[in-house]
């Protein structure tokens, strides 16, 4: 799936291919980059990440302080403190936990602290559901973090390594979320190539003391009060940094490719060269099932394709426009809902704006599916391709989100 440049790849960096769930792959990457502090609180489906990290610390495989905090609010708060003191910091959560952190999400990006957090996506209460979707992630999209959405355990492993590089880059200094499907990925074992620890650590050198830190030798005041005279300008710097992070994200991705032989880009296209009908997806299950459906549709002569969004914030508008410009109709599959919005797919809105801003005027449909892990059948996406064909030929574009899989 990924763009491996074999000739440049140093095969020696791969030390083995192991079966890992995405959660375990995340924990493995956190160990490989030599994190100093982990602060976390258990919540399904995130828990097995922190169980594994606690085990690494207990066995001496990872030399870190593991802070078993009393809430997710304190998890991110402790991460903020540790990062401000110069440590390399990791935390992870899902759903209600991410909501409880919400206040501190804004503060972490406002204080420009390079924290990395894994978020296996999960539905939000009420009714309570432990199962996967991306409602939790969509609710925090405006908190100023860099946000990746991975689609395989391998990609999650690789992305955590990239994420530390991006977050700690002096040109970025922003926290990063690595998200992926709760359960469908977090608890599914896949083959993952893990790398030589030394190579990973060389790729993620420490930038201790390249940013203001809490250090008595050079006292700084962090988290100061800004009056309206200053607030706007300071906030704008963080907004700008998130925008500008794209350059560093691409740079890190290509360097990762040279070192480890994998690159992902901001978006990933499948069979797009001549595609008339494209499903825009994010995460694992939606993408891979859409791809199966696209193959079947192509088998019957329909030119179907899939475009997966990997980098969600900053949003890769230009990449999307480039890949979607020649399609006849597009559907955006959202595993989250923006209730009361003109159209209720949260990522649909971003894609729609990106296309219209670029002057691309073509039928684009919002599809909601996979809510609380409602099964997204391959046949659902297969039918969706034919629906796109009908929409393109009749010009009758639905003005509301299509709720698929809803009884």
């Amino acid at each position: 799936m990924t763009q491996v440049i074999e000739k440049e790849r140093e095969r020696s960096v791969v030390v083995g291919k192991v079966g890992l769930t995405t959660n375990y792959a995340i924990a493995h990457a956190v160990k490989d980059v030599d994190v100093d502090v982990v602060a976390a609180y258990p919540i399904t489906p995130q828990t097995t990440i922190i169980e594994k990290l606690a085990e690494y610390v207990a066995n001496g495989e990872l030399d870190a302080e593991f802070i078993p905090v009393e809430s997710e609010h304190s998890a991110l708060s402790a991460a903020v403190g540790a990062s401000a003191a110069g440590a390399r910091v990791f935390t992870a959560t899902s759903a209600q936990g991410l909501e409880l952190m919400h206040e501190i999400l804004h503060i972490a990006s406002g204080l420009r602290l390079p924290i990395v957090m894994a978020v296996p996506g999960r539905a939000l209460s009420a009714p309570i559901s432990i199962h996967g979707d991306y409602q939790d992630l969509m609710n925090v999209r405006d908190t100023g973090w860099v946000i990746y959405i991975a689609s395989t355990a391998q990609e999650a492993y690789d992305t955590v390594i990239e994420a530390f590089r991006v977050a700690e880059d002096p040109r970025v200094l922003l926290p990063v979320i690595v998200s992926y499907d709760g359960f469908l990925m977090s608890h599914t074992t896949e083959p993952v190539e893990v790398y030589d620890t030394k190579a990973v650590r060389e790729f993620t050198p420490r930038r201790h003391n390249t940013r203001p830190l809490l250090n008595p030798e050079r006292p700084v005041t962090m988290g100061a009060l800004a009056t309206p005279d200053w607030y706007y300008e300071i906030k704008y710097q963080a907004i700008n940094a998130l925008r500008a992070s794209r350059g560093v994200i691409d740079e890190v991705d290509s360097e990762f490719n040279r070192r480890f032989g994998r690159a992902y880009g901001a978006v990933e296209g499948f069979m797009l060269d001549d595609a008339d009908y494209i499903l825009v997806t994010y995460g694992g299950a939606a993408t891979w099932n859409a791809l199966e459906a696209a193959k079947e549709a192509r088998g019957r002569g329909l030119r179907a394709g899939v475009l997966r969004i990997r980098l969600f914030r900053p949003f890769p508008s230009n990449d999307l426009v480039k890949r979607l410009a020649d399609a006849k109709a597009v559907a955006v599959v959202d595993r989250a809902i923006a209730p009361g919005s003109p159209v209720e797919g949260p990522v649909f809105k971003d894609v729609y704006i990106a296309l219209r801003e670029a002057g691309v005027d073509k039928p684009i449909v919002s599809v909601i599916h996979g809510i609380s892990q409602r099964t997204m059948y391959i046949r659902d996406f297969y039918e969706l391709y034919y629906k796109l064909r009908d929409i393109a030929s009749t010009g009758n574009v639905p003005r509301e989100s299509l709720y698929m899989g809803l009884r």
């Binding site: 401000a84 809490l214 008595p216």
Partner: protein
């Protein structure tokens, strides 16, 4: 600068022993006669330069860090209202990890600083978590007995009958209905090495307790409950802050004591106050304060009974753990 780290700390016996160095600079925006700012000034003098301060949202935070100025001569971070203890936990853990891994060689001690709202109420969970996990952090509660920064609202630290804007004196309800939460007992129940009460009216006692608390951090957390009157909130004259704080101790309303490695100890002058006749009449403390101006005879009696009840409790603690 202050004491070189590693130097043996000599107890402060008189005001002449108080370090001249200032780490809480002039130019803060606190009100005239601010009790909490006196507390912070003396705490930092006692602690010296090798500290990192984590401050919860509140009076001290908004008045000392208005960008682009700062009153802090030591490293300082403010994150939010309810999480000073959690942020401090993270800093303490970071220092431990970085030192152990040879990435840093930091000796800084971590002081979390929060008001009564940030401690009794919204910060209670994070505080309990920090104490339970045993982080080597000194948590300082500066208690001005209400949410003063937002305009005098009642907190779990506001005493019974006190007027605040959310416990107003009406025809049916007269001031705060509930009693002040016994924060020290809650803290001591975590079995930490050191916890003490202190007052801005007794700066030498306060500063010695700061040093004792910092020395205990190798073993675990320490806690200081510092009484710090608020002239606008308590409706007292700007010049009376220290006087009122002293009366709180002398009348037995705010006893000075220590919980030191499982031992309970009353400190002067409170060590004389088990005998009620040695305490000044409660009315001396209440009368100058506008927040108690509405109190009737029976309300004062009820308050006195509460003070006596607390002393009875302390006396039993003294017998059991003295």
């Amino acid at each position: 600068m202050g004491m070189a780290s590693g130097q043996i700390k000599i107890g402060i016996r008189t005001i002449w022993d108080i370090p001249k160095e200032e780490y809480f600079g002039p130019g803060q925006l606190t009100c005239a006669g601010c009790g909490p700012s006196l507390a912070v000034r003396h705490i930092l003098k006692a602690a010296g330069p090798d500290v990192i301060v984590v401050n919860a949202t509140g009076c001290i935070e908004v008045t000392s860090t208005q960008y682009p100025y700062t009153a802090w001569g030591v490293p300082y971070i403010h994150v939010a209202f309810e999480n000073a203890a959690a942020v401090a936990s993270g800093i303490e853990a970071a220092i431990k990890a970085l030192n152990r891994k040879g990435i840093a060689n930091a000796k800084a001690k971590v002081i979390a600083l929060a008001g009564d709202g940030g401690t009794y109420d919204i910060g209670m969970q994070a505080l309990s978590g920090m104490l339970e996990r045993g982080h080597g952090v000194l948590y300082v509660l500066y208690d001005n007995e209400a949410y003063m920064n937002t305009g005098i609202q009642r907190s779990g630290g506001t005493p019974r009958f006190a007027w605040t804007t959310t416990s107003p004196v009406g025809s049916r309800i007269r001031g705060k209905v509930q009693s002040k939460k016994d924060i020290m007992s809650i803290v001591i129940a975590h079995h930490i090495p050191y916890a003490a009460t202190a007052s801005i009216a007794y700066p030498i006692d306060l500063m010695n307790k700061v040093r004792k608390a910092l020395d205990a951090l190798n073993e675990g957390p320490a806690f200081l409950h510092v009484f710090a009157p608020c002239p606008p909130g308590w409706r007292i004259d700007d010049s009376k802050t220290v006087e009122i704080a002293r009366l709180a101790v002398e009348t037995g309303v705010f006893p000075l004591f220590e919980w030191d490695h499982g031992k309970f100890r009353l400190n002067p002058p409170s060590n004389m106050h088990v005998d009620k006749s040695k305490r000044k009449p409660l009315i001396n403390y209440l009368k100058p304060q506008g927040r108690f101006a509405h109190l009737k005879e029976e309300e004062i009696k009820a308050m006195e009974a509460e003070v006596d009840g607390y002393w009875d409790y302390l006396t039993r603690l003294l017998k059991a753990f003295g």
